[in-house]
Amino acid sequence: MDFSPTDDQRMIADSFARVFEGGGGQAELDELGLLLAAHPEATGGFGAGVADLVPALVECGRAATQAPVIGAAFLPGLALTRAGIWAEGPACLDPEAEVRIDDDRLTGVLPVVPGADVADRLVMCLPDDRLAVVPLSVAEVVPFALVDGRGAAEVRLDGARATITDTVPGLTGAIQDSAVTLYAAEALGALYAIREMTQAYLKERRQFGRPLGSFQALQHAMVDLYHDIEHFQSLVHLAARCCDGPDVAMRLRSVSALKRYLGGRMRRAAASAIQMHGGIGVTEEYALGRYVKRVIVADLLNGSADDHGARLARLIAEETRAADRAAPADDLKENVA
């Protein structure tokens, strides 16, 4: 099983990396057309799928960029490509907007929409697999920064007139799962940075006359962190391919596993990295915190780890019952009260 990036994926990722190395951000990415990667080809994008975006997002995470790459670029791009429509001007997307729909008028409060601070339009996935697009000029937009520094906004819609597409079967679920996966891919980049910083720090910082890395307790904590990130990496790639593929059950399974991992093992890995740094790890100035916050934001957005644990549990129960019906009678059935 080989997840190494294709030439095209590498090319996109390298372009992102070069922009960040030169200290660039949103303006430079925009200029190079990179923010359109996921947008439909007919409108200047590359029509990239989720797996195509993973290497670029890893670079975004490594750089802890403030550019709204997911919220106001990749995510709406994926949705628009899938729905086969095009909205003029930069858009942002809320994958699980809770809004009331009266004909083409939408009412509701969307409390945290990443990228809504800079977008012209808001794209929403409706529960019935339609896509709604409203110009943000007709909404009340209250911008703020997320804890990791990225921009977002609260969006209030009060009977805002939307353009609503026909039903695209499976659209909303697919975009919600893609949102989880895109943020996880970016968190993976941040986790690489966390891992490298921590490994280097354990080698260079000395206490008791020895490098910290010579203490077994810290070595084992570092091995756990390394180990968990390697496994998380596998899930990111798996989920990304599942988001692009036709097997819905496998997508639900891999994405929920990914989110559960992110809110469990990865949250602990981030906390453990701080612990291994000691006091410096909790300072505003030291870069570690920026990466940790990026991981935690990914953990918190788009459904909790518990939501996804419950979803995975339901899926397991359904699949097991289906398989069991086909299987031979169970010896232990007689024990069922």
Binding site: M1, D2, F3, Q199, L202, K203, G213, S214, Q216, Q219, H220, M222, V223, D224, Y226, H227, E230, H231, F232, Q233, S234, L235, H237, L238, R241, C242, G245, D247, M250, R253, S254, S256, A257, L258, R260, Y261, G264, D306, G309, A310, L312, A313, R314, I316, A317, E319, T320, R321, A323, D324, A327, P328, D330, D331, L332, K333, N335, V336, A337
Partner: protein, 389 residues
């Protein structure tokens, strides 16, 4: 995970499935699906069936009887066989000494031993650990002294799994007690267990079973043609062997099958008025296990695809063993929980049972994070060799 199977892989899987349908005896698969543990004889029967088909040693080079399968195909075969309820073949010949002889053995040794490992005419056990040499294996004391026409071996091995069934023991012995580093004075000998001076005594483990033994060696004479490779180079061969052992302990195919069985168990048990599998608390534990398993399955395939056949897997094996053994323990733990009070009554080890999957499995699985190198030692190895501490 059909997503990753190429058309060729899928065709291969179908071939494996239809073979298993025909070839795997029903009493053997029935043991697995009845939550039982395969007997020794079932395991050997299955070994011989696979040997007839030429599929018993997929990891060996083709000219020695291997299948030439890719790592993905090996995994497909392994997981399909386990899912069908086949016994896990013992690794001592097929995964441990076989590959060592192929890489380091003499032509005569290959000719003599390899076919008999494939056919299960010889059964092997592993004589590494000693009472004073566990994690610190290089501290081993069993002594071999050259005496004109043979080595004379004295010492004690312990934890020797299935020595009671074995014809041969591949054994680490000290040939040079004065070597600068303890690792440099060790050799590997192939010892017939019916040699005069060999005594095998059972050790009963907490699951009530007889898996392991003590092996006493008293003036056992071992001729020169039973030395593997060169004298005092045994540590090199042992490290290669342990790498393969650890990958085999990670045992992803078996975890996949046991996880499926655990889910079936949970679907057929009740907590209050609902099936256990629908209980939100138990369901969450299953979900976490599933997430960890899926991550491990993909990680193993990702990493093993990068290893060439016969190449030393090195510290990677420690990495894979860590999570693999932990997942198997958690499967057994949830199985015990699911079995509940029915797992509590003591059953004699030699009585056929249907509740093995409960308490006995949990007790038995405690050893998974100890043998083949404990988890703590695996972490030491990863810290040193992968992270550079």
């Amino acid at each position: 995970m059909e997503l990753f199977y190429s058309d060729a892989d899928l065709a291969f899987r179908d071939e494996v499935r239809s073979y298993l349908d025909d070839a795997l005896p029903e009493d053997i698969s029935g043991t697995f699906f009845g939550y039982g543990r395969h007997s020794w004889h079932q395991m050997i029967r299955w070994h011989k069936i696979l040997a007839d088909k030429g599929w018993v040693a997929p990891n060996w080079p083709e000219d020695h009887g291997g299948t030439g399968w890719s790592p993905m195909q090996q995994y497909i075969f392994d997981s399909e066989a386990m899912m069908a309820g086949a016994p896990r073949l013992r690794p001592f010949g097929l995964k441990m000494i076989g590959p060592v002889l192929i890489r380091f053995g003499s032509e005569a040794q290959k000719k003599r031993f390899l076919p008999r490992i494939l056919s299960a005419d010889d059964y092997w056990c592993q004589g590494f650990s000693e009472p004073g040499a566990g994690s610190d294996l290089a501290a081993l004391k069993t002594r071999a002294v050259w005496d004109g026409d043979a080595y004379v071996v004295n010492g004690q091995k312990t934890w020797t799994t299935t020595a009671q069934h074995a014809d041969w023991m591949f054994t680490l012995v000290r040939t040079d007690p004065d070597a600068e580093r303890p690792q440099q004075g060790i050799s590997m000998l192939l010892i017939p267990l019916d040699s005069p001076g060999v005594t095998v005594r059972p050790i009963i483990t907490i699951d009530g079973d007889h898996h392991v033994n003590e092996v006493f060696l008293e003036d056992v004479r071992v001729p020169a043609d039973l030395l593997v490779g060169e004298e005092n180079r045994g540590w090199t061969y042992a490290k290669y062997l342990l790498g393969n052992e650890r990958v085999s302990i990670a045992n992803v195919g078996q975890s996949k099958a046991e996880l499926a069985l655990l889910k079936r168990l949970a679907a057929n048990r009740k907590r209050g008025n609902v099936a256990l599998i629908d209980d939100p608390v138990f369901g969450m534990k299953l979900a976490d296990l599933e997430a960890d398993f899926l991550a491990q399955e993909v990680t193993n395939l990702r990493m093993l695809s990068q290893v060439r056949p016969g190449q030393d897997v090195g510290a990677l094996s420690s990495f894979l063993k860590l999570r693999g053994s932990e997942i198997q323990q958690r499967i057994q733990e949830l199985a015990m929980e699911a079995t509940g009070a029915l797992a509590a009554p003591w059953r004699e080890a030699d009585r056929p049972r249907t509740d093995d999957y409960g308490m006995h499995g949990w007790l038995n699985s405690r050893a998974f994070t100890i043998f083949g190198g404990s988890s703590e030692v695996m972490k030491n190895i990863v810290a040193k060799q992968i992270l550079g501490f």
